[in-house]
C-alpha cells in the first residue's frame, strides 16, 4: 500500500519559489505558462492496510508533520500496489 501526499501552499499565500520558476520559464520562451505553484510530494510506503486506514494514517501524518496548516493544504491519493 502506498500513500501519495501532495502538499501545496494555500492559494492566498505568495510562493516566492513558484514565482521564480515562472519567471525562468518565461525567459525560456514558455509564454503560455501563466503561473507556477511549487509544492512538495511525499510517497509513504505503508504496511498492508485497508485503503481507509491508509488514508487515515497518511492524513494524520500530513496534519502532524508533513504540512503546516497555517500556510499549506494537502491532498492524498492511495495506491494499492506492491512495492518492489
Amino acid at each position: 500500500m502506498r500513500a501519495r501526499v501532495f502538499v501545496t501552499l494555500k492559494p492566498s499565500v505568495f510562493d516566492p519559489q513558484g514565482k521564480t520558476v515562472t519567471d525562468a520559464l518565461h525567459t525560456l520562451g514558455f509564454a503560455a505558462v501563466r503561473d507556477v505553484r511549487q509544492g512538495k510530494y511525499f510517497e509513504l510506503d505503508l504496511d498492508a492496510l485497508s485503503a481507509d486506514d491508509a488514508r487515515r494514517l497518511a492524513s494524520e501524518a500530513a496534519d502532524k508533520l508533513l504540512s503546516n496548516p497555517v500556510i499549506e493544504s494537502y491532498r492524498i491519493e492511495i495506491v494499492d500496489e506492491v512495492i518492489a
Binding site: L9, S12, V13, F14, D15, P16, Q17, T20, L65, L66, N68, V70, I71
Partner: protein, 253 residues
C-alpha cells in the same frame, strides 16, 4: 541568573548566545541538548539560530518534536521568558507557541546583512530595557524569514500589541525598501498573548560588542536579565509594574 541555551543538531548560534550571556553580560548560560527533558532550573530559555535538523521539510518542523520542547512549553506556560532567535523563532512558530509561519524570502535569496529594527513594544521581558520606538542595528541571516499569517491574525497581533520588532529605515519608518524578506507588516519579531515568549529573525546575540560592528542587540539580553532579577525567574502579570519601573530607572540614567 542562568540561561538555558537549547542545542539542536544543526544549531549554529548557540555559542554566540552563550558568549553574549556569559562573557558580555556576566551571567550563566548552560547548553541543553535537545534530547534532554529538563531545563535544569534555568531562569530564561534561548532557542538559538541555525538549521535544526538541516531545516529539512520546513524550518523548525522537526525540532518542534524534540524532547526538550515539552519542558520549554511547560516553562513558557508557567510564565518563564523564552526567546527564539532566527531558527529558534521558526521552531516556536512550528510548535504553535507563536502564531503564523515562515515562507521563503520574497527575493528567494538567503539574506545576510545588518538591518534596522524598531522596538515597537517594551512590555516584554526581552525589550523592557529599550526605549519605546528605539531602533536597533542588528544582523539577519536567513533564507526563510518571510513572516506570514492570515489577515485576521495580523489584525489580532496589532490589536494586542504583539508585534514587538519591525524592519524599518533609519528613521524608524517601516517601508517596503527596509523589509529584507517580504514579511507581512514588516514584522521582524512578535510575542505571545502572555508576552513572555518572544521570537525574532534578527540576531541580537550577534550584536553585543562594538568589535563585531554593533552592540545594539545587547539591550535585548540585558532586558531579560533585569526582568528575571526583578521577577525572580517568572514573568507574570505581577511583574509588569516592576518592569515598567525598571525601564524608567534605566531610561532615567
Amino acid at each position: 541568573m542562568k540561561f538555558a541555551v537549547v542545542v539542536f543538531p544543526g544549531s549554529n548560534s548557540d555559542h554566540d548566545a552563550q558568549y553574549a550571556a556569559e562573557r558580555v553580560l556576566g551571567q550563566q548560560a548552560e547548553f541543553i541538548w535537545h534530547k534532554d527533558t529538563s531545563l535544569r532550573g534555568a531562569d530564561a530559555v534561548i532557542l538559538p539560530g541555525g538549521f535544526a535538523h538541516g531545516d529539512y521539510l520546513r524550518t523548525g518542523a522537526i525540532a518542534r518534536f524534540s524532547p526538550i520542547m515539552d519542558a520549554v512549553r511547560k516553562f513558557a506556560e508557567a510564565g518563564g521568558p523564552v526567546l527564539g532567535i532566527c531558527n529558534g523563532f521558526q521552531v516556536l512558530l512550528e510548535a504553535g507557541m507563536l502564531p503564523g509561519a515562515m515562507l521563503r524570502n520574497r527575493g528567494v535569496k538567503f539574506v545576510c546583512e545588518h538591518v534596522i529594527v524598531k522596538v515597537e513594544q517594551t512590555d516584554t521581558p526581552f525589550t523592557l530595557a529599550c526605549h519605546p520606538g528605539q531602533t536597533l542595528r542588528i544582523p539577519i541571516a536567513h533564507g526563510e524569514g518571510n513572516y506570514y499569517a492570515e489577515p485576521d491574525v495580523i489584525a489580532r497581533l496589532e490589536k494586542n500589541r504583539q508585534i514587538i520588532f519591525r524592519y524599518t529605515n533609519a528613521a524608524g519608518v517601516p517601508t517596503d525598501e527596509s523589509n529584507p524578506n517580504g514579511s507581512v507588516a514588516n514584522i521582524a519579531g512578535l510575542c505571545n498573548e502572555r508576552r513572555n515568549v518572544v521570537g525574532l529573525m534578527p540576531h541580537p546575540e550577534r550584536a553585543c560588542e562594538l568589535a563585531v560592528g554593533s552592540a545594539d542587540g545587547l539591550v535585548v539580553l540585558e532586558s531579560v536579565v533585569r526582568a528575571v532579577k526583578g521577577g525572580r525567574g517568572a514573568f507574570s502579570e505581577d511583574t509588569f509594574d516592576l518592569m515598567t519601573s525598571t525601564r524608567e530607572s534605566v531610561l532615567g540614567k
